[in-house]
């Protein structure tokens, strides 16, 4: 057979393309379910990792986490749809809530761009909605040893206890390595991974900004919530009372002791 004729060449190419197309379509569709399952599990693992839960069964640990959507007025409503693995759509803002050691924590998904491709992360905040509890960062193809270092604990742990926002502005930031001027809200970037570090910085600022209605609601609670102020006042009054009580008790004790010793001295002198 002449393998160089036009008809053979065209026929060969067509058959090859059809076979390959069917093969890939078959493999892709038959593995799809398992793959989505894996991606979901991995996303949950990343969120748990931001909450510093790194051991144990992911599904079991996940029982403790609930998925919410942020409303425009800063309140949360429960999300009952399918668990999402992609949070780049910003029309629906997700917040995860969990109890870790009896304290409420909130996790916010963040999305951005690094040097070579997308980067993403999850930022867990304490109940005050203003200090960082833990972070997780992921990337698709940043340079190993440079930008890819954002996933390493030495980088993610720097964020712990940093302040997120001040006066309605997001102040949590990543600065050039060794250029930290305000250690309450700035962390060191990766040297040699400048563009990825900048990407993390921009990602945190732009994504957390979208949650400002929710983040500032914590501050509002503390200042305008009259009951809280009252409670605080009562608490401090009670504390002062207790302090006064204890000093009175102490005085009484010393007085009694002194009186006792005087009586003893008088008795001694009388005996003489």
């Amino acid at each position: 057979m002449n393998t160089n004729s036009n008809a053979y060449t065209i026929g060969y190419a067509s058959i090859m393309v059809i076979i390959v197309a069917f093969l890939l379509a078959f493999i892709s569709s038959s593995l799809k379910e398992k793959q989505t399952e894996n991606v979901k599990l991995d996303t949950k693992k990343q969120i748990l990792s931001a909450l510093n839960i790194k051991d144990g069964d992911v599904a079991a640990n996940w029982e403790n986490v609930s998925d919410f959507i942020l409303n425009a007025d800063g309140t949360l409503s429960a999300y009952d749809g399918d668990f999402r693995t992609n949070y780049s759509d910003t029309t629906e803002l997700h917040v995860f809530e969990s109890n870790v050691n009896g304290e409420k924590k909130y996790v916010f998904p963040v999305r951005g761009a690094g040097l070579w491709g997308p980067i993403w992360g999850y930022v867990a905040l304490n109940a005050d909605k203003n200090t960082v509890y833990g972070t997780y960062f992921g990337h698709e193809g940043e340079t190993p040893g440079l930008g890819a270092e954002i996933t390493k604990p030495f980088f993610t742990e720097q964020f712990v206890d940093k302040t997120v926002s001040r006066d309605g502005n997001i102040v949590l930031s990543v600065v050039k390595n060794g250029k930290v001027s305000d250690s309450s809200c700035e962390v060191d970037g990766i040297s040699g991974g400048t563009i990825t570090s900048k990407g993390v910085d921009e990602m945190l600022k732009s994504c957390l900004k979208r949650y400002s209605a929710f983040l500032s609601s914590a501050a509002a609670d503390a200042t305008s919530g009259a009951t809280k102020v009252e409670n605080a006042a009562q608490d401090s009054a009670a504390a002062k009372m207790a302090a006064v009580d204890s000093t009175v008790c102490a005085l009484k004790d010393t007085l009694v002791a002194k009186a006792d010793s005087i009586v003893k001295e008088v008795k001694d002198e009388l005996k003489k």
Binding site: T3, Y12, A13, V20, I27, E140, T143, G192
Partner: protein
């Protein structure tokens, strides 16, 4: 038998795809900042190259001459896609570790080079051995470069610190330049230099 052995051994040394034929340099620069991705990449290329070599070798008498490069590319791309899909379903952690490198395999010149130069002219068994040999030849160079870069660039191997703290206290510093891509090219250049100096038959007259 000795022929097979030769097919397997020459790409590891005297006919190394990276150090002698200078193929696949781009990926060698990209993944050698650390040992782990270098090893993973080396093994992936070995597996894909061996499979692609066998497939092309089986098809070699039917492939129309004018579109043979396209056929080779389609075979490589299909295999890479299948491997990456299977990894995503059954070994998700590995597929995350590989991330974009799997896709990079398609553009690796070594694959096209071996398919065109060897598999198109030899039987499936020879081609399998040739694929494994060339893949490992590529992996060895990657591992050597990555070892040097990670050790001197970050003071670690496989992510674990190996340079003792007392050396750092004595004023030793990691060489940040080692982690930059140009350093991979320089180390590779040194390896090629050393190989040529040791084997005069490699030198052009």
């Amino acid at each position: 038998m000795s022929n097979l052995k030769e097919t397997f051994l020459t790409p590891l040394g005297l006919n190394n795809p990276v150090a002698v034929q200078v193929l696949g340099i781009c990926s060698a620069l990209a993944v050698t900042a650390q040992l782990e991705p270098a090893i993973v990449m080396g093994l992936s290329v070995t597996i894909i190259l061996a499979l692609a070599n066998v497939v092309i070798s089986l098809l070699r008498n039917t492939i129309p001459n004018r579109i043979r490069i396209i056929v080779q590319l389609v075979v490589v791309a299909t295999l890479v896609t299948i491997v990456s899909e299977v990894l995503k379903a059954f070994a998700y952690d590995v597929s995350v570790a590989l991330s974009v490198y799997v896709g990079l395999i398609i553009t690796n010149c070594i694959l096209m080079g071996r398919l065109e130069a060897f598999a198109m002219a030899n039987g499936p068994v020879d081609s399998l051995v040739d694929g494994i040999g060339n893949g490992l030849g590529y992996a060895i160079i990657l591992v050597i470069v990555a070892f040097i870069r990670e050790l001197f660039g970050a003071g670690t191997l496989f992510g674990y610190q190996v340079i003792p703290d007392c050396l750092y206290e004595a004023g030793y510093m990691n060489c940040g330049l080692m982690l930059m891509p140009p350093m991979a090219l320089i180390i590779l250049g040194c390896i090629i230099w050393a190989m040529r100096a040791k084997n005069p038959e490699l030198q052009e007259k």
